[in-house]
């Protein structure tokens, strides 16, 4: 499994000088590679720059740059009660999702490593479902299915159901990130050592395993938080405008009759800043590794 994790290790480290030369020839001209990366970086940065300028522009007509700059959009958006309510809902949902995913996924994953290996295929198979099924299909299916019985029908179109749906569809990314770090921490050896010293399995999890996989837990939780914050399909089809989350608010700024592109730019920059902070935190915290983003076929 670990072989397909996003690794920042060099393909061959400690090369001899002959190998270094071979590597240089194999890799291709340095200037060409640098130019390609620079081109991609510029293309990637253009929409972000335009968004940043939009959030600061007074008027922007017929010139490549805004006429003049102002902080008024930042002030008005950050004090807009509707926007603050939307971002509050999104943060609440995302935090609850992180808590729920940790509570529901970590224990069986830990158990699959130390006690019952047959849980693993089950966890992996379940993680593939939301990985391939489009969000719009999940949203349609969940809302319909819950409405089949009187007992659960009252959940239909509620924020609770939205939370449950987001938990069920965002856990795979957590599972893969934490699974990799459990293996890297050699959890079986940790558990055996702790057992010899008389600790039970749950005490071991709390006192030994969780501290030693904290980077993996943090990476998984951040990824789940970010994906829950950006969830659009489920929010639109399960609750709709009755429970306006940040993406739904943004959608209204983009398309609605009261569209507000400058406010949209401000909120967009906030989302992007969060994403940048999370991505770089994960990479730095994991010593250069980005968490695994897809399942592998290796059976182990």
């Amino acid at each position: 499994m670990d072989r397909l994790t996003m690794s920042a290790r060099a393909p061959t480290q400690n090369r001899t000088s002959g190998m270094a030369e071979a590597a240089e020839v194999l890799a291709g001209p340095r200037w060409l590679r640098a130019a390609a990366l620079a081109g991609v970086a510029v293309y990637g940065a253009l929409p972000l720059c335009a968004t940043a300028l939009y959030s600061l522009a007074t008027v922007w007509r017929r010139k490549p740059l805004p006429d003049s700059y102002t902080l008024q959009w930042w002030a008005s958006t950050l004090t807009d009660p509707v926007f603050l309510a939307a971002i509050g809902r999104s943060i609440t949902i995302a935090l609850l999702t992180v808590v729920a995913v940790n509570l529901v996924v970590l224990p069986p994953l830990y158990w699959s490593h130390i006690a019952n290996r047959r849980i693993r295929p089950l966890l992996e198979a379940c993680a593939l479902i939301p990985f391939v099924l489009p969000g719009v299909v999940m949203a349609a299916g969940i809302n319909r299915f819950v409405g089949l019985w009187p007992l659960t029908a009252q959940l239909q179109a509620t924020p609770t159901l939205l939370l449950l749906a987001i938990v069920a569809t965002s856990f795979p990314i957590y599972l893969w990130a934490v699974d990799g770090s459990l293996r890297a921490a050699n959890v079986i050896a940790l558990w055996e050592a702790a057992t010899v010293h008389g600790a039970g399995p749950w005490r071991t999890l709390r006192r030994v395993v969780v501290p030693s996989i904290r980077h993996g837990l943090a990476a998984g939780s951040l990824l789940v938080f970010a994906s829950a914050m950006g969830e659009l399909a489920l929010a639109r089809l399960i609750t709709g405008s009755a429970f306006e989350t940040l993406p739904l608010w943004q959608l209204r700024q983009l398309r609605g009759t009261d569209a507000n592109p400058n406010g949209m730019a401000v909120s967009s920059l906030l989302s992007l800043a969060m994403l940048f902070a999370f991505s770089f935190a994960i990479v730095l915290g994991n010593r250069g590794r980005v968490a695994q983003i897809a399942p592998t076929a290796a059976k182990d």
């Binding site: 968004t51 349609a140 950006g230």
Partner: protein, 299 residues
């Protein structure tokens, strides 16, 4: 095999019956399994049932006939698949050289590049669409800048299928690059040295060794990109896709669920959903069998 013993039983030093053992082994996975069964498996199974039922609950094939007969849904299916194939192919063509360049960076730079790719791969749909409109739209920054040097510069209509492809590429290419990045190590210096000792040039090396080693990974990535592209809902929605401009399966499903009045709309939505499920599951099966073969090369 000490690992597989039940630690609870060992701790208290007594043997347990088979039932108690079963509970101890599986109880911890129960909440997870129930949640998945209720929130993922049940709804997916219900989609199959819904697609074959009319509003009274009787068995019917009318939904499927409606989906096939209605030019709107038929076109949506075709458009979705064409866009999926286009995105997957363009992504592979751009993504492989990109992943190669990133894989040959020094360690520190590679981490930064991977983090940047991760940002682009996870960018929220609304932010992305707004950023594209602000940069490449009719009154966008790049468009305006182009106009100052070339008055009749052609503009990209981001609300057209071409525009959709450009926007999809923005996050599909980084996703693909991150997926195939580990595979780039399989084309190693050892292989290159062995090949050049045997007299192979660069072209011959790539044609006979490099590309065959990478091919299964690239193909597996192609399949995943296809699945993700046909399942996209956020970006087309944020673009304001209507029946006339952007007609995709996912948008049709969303419209059918939210529209009121039209008959057997849930049935038709279920048919389209089932089509997406079948395409995705088939692709996933291909993806896993391909990767299983490909992993032989990463020791």
């Amino acid at each position: 095999m000490a690992v597989f013993e039940n630690p609870v039983g060992r701790r208290y030093g007594r043997r347990r019956g088979p039932f108690a053992r079963l509970v101890a082994d599986w109880a911890v996975v129960l909440p997870f399994t129930l949640a998945i069964a209720w929130l993922l498996i049940g709804p997916a199974a219900n989609i199959v049932v819904d697609s074959l039922r009319d509003s009274q609950g009787d068995l019917t094939s009318l939904n499927w006939r409606d989906v096939v007969a209605n030019p709107l849904t038929r076109r949506a299916i075709v458009t979705s698949i064409v866009i999926g194939v286009t995105i997957a192919s363009l992504t592979a063509v751009i993504g492989v050289p990109l992943a190669w360049c990133v894989s040959r960076l020094t360690i520190g730079n590679r981490s930064l590049a991977a983090a940047a790719l991760n940002v682009a791969a996870n960018i929220p749909a609304t932010s992305l669409v707004f950023g594209f409109a602000a940069a490449f739209g009719g009154a966008g920054m790049v468009t305006l800048a182009l106009r100052t040097v070339w008055a009749d510069a052609p503009t990209l209509n981001i609300y057209s299928p071409t525009g959709l492809v450009c926007i999809f590429l923005y996050f599909h290419v980084p996703l693909f690059a991150l997926l195939v990045l580990p595979a780039m190590g399989a084309v190693s210096e050892d292989l290159w040295e062995a090949a050049s000792v045997c007299g192979a040039g660069t072209v011959r090396f790539w044609w006979r060794i490099g590309l065959p080693v990478l091919a299964p990974f690239v193909l597996a990535g192609w399949i995943l990109m296809f699945v993700w592209a046909i399942g996209q809902y956020g970006v087309p929605l944020a673009l304001g896709g209507t029946e006339a401009t952007l007609n995709l399966m996912t948008l049709r499903i969303g419209d059918l669920i939210q529209s009121v009045g039209s008959n057997n709309r849930f049935g038709r939505a279920a048919c389209l959903s089932l089509l997406l499920i079948v395409l995705s599951v088939g692709a996933l099966w291909l993806y896993r069998s391909l990767l299983r073969r490909a992993l032989r090369w990463i020791a």
